[in-house]
Symmetry: C2
Subunit: 112 residues, 2 copies
C-alpha cells in the first residue's frame, strides 16, 4: 500500500506524466468542504453514518477523485451524489480526495 502510493506519488510528481486531473490536493481545504457537504452521510471522520453510504476514510485518493468526477459527469449514477458533485471544481475534487485519504485506517480481519 505504502509502496504503491509512493509509486503513484513519484509518477504524479513527474511533469511528463502528470495529467491535468492529477493535481495535488489540500487536505485542510478538503476537510472544510467535506464537513459541510459530505459528513451528513459519510461521517466527520469518513466512517459512514448511513448504512448505504460508503466509508471514505483512508480511501485511495486516485479512486476518490475518479469517483467524484464520475458522479459529477453522471458516468456513475446516484441521485444524491450526482447533485452533490455537480458543481465540484477539479481543485475541490483534489482537496476532498486529499482529505479522506489523509485519514489513517487500520484493518483487523476477524480470526479464522
Amino acid at each position: 500500500m505504502r509502496l504503491a502510493r509512493l509509486g503513484l506519488a513519484v509518477l504524479l510528481a513527474s511533469p511528463a506524466f502528470a495529467p491535468a486531473w492529477a493535481q495535488e490536493g489540500d487536505a485542510r481545504a478538503g476537510r472544510r468542504l467535506a464537513g459541510g457537504r459530505c459528513a451528513v452521510c459519510h461521517g466527520n471522520d469518513g466512517i459512514a453514518v448511513q448504512p448505504d453510504a460508503p466509508n471514505l476514510a483512508g480511501q485511495n485518493p486516485a479512486y476518490l477523485a475518479e469517483q467524484l468526477r464520475a458522479f459529477r459527469d453522471k458516468v456513475r449514477l446516484h441521485e444524491q451524489m450526482n447533485l452533490m458533485a455537480a458543481a465540484l471544481s477539479e481543485t475541490d475534487i483534489a482537496n476532498l480526495a486529499a482529505w479522506y485519504a489523509a485519514i489513517e485506517v487500520t484493518a483487523t480481519p476477524p480470526g479464522r
Copy 2:
C-alpha cells in the same frame, strides 16, 4: 456506526421488511471467494494494493452488495469489475459483502 448497523440488522431480521436481496452473508465463504478473485487488487485484508482500487475493509455490507450488483448488471461501468462480477450469485454477493464488512477498521483523522 455501530448503532446504524444494529438498526440495519434489526430491520433486515424482520421478514416483513427483508427484500429478496437482503440475505445474510457467510463471511467465511466470502473470505474464500475473495481470496481467489478480489485480493489481487483489493488486498487480502481489504486494503487495496492497487492505487486505483478502493479499500473494502469494514465497508458497509449494504453498500458493498449494491455495488457488486451494479457491476454485475453493468449499471456501474468498470471493465474489470463488470467481468469479475458477471457470474456472481446473490449468495456470492452476500458472502463477499459479509466478509469485507467483518474486517474491523479504525479511522484516525490527522491533527488539525
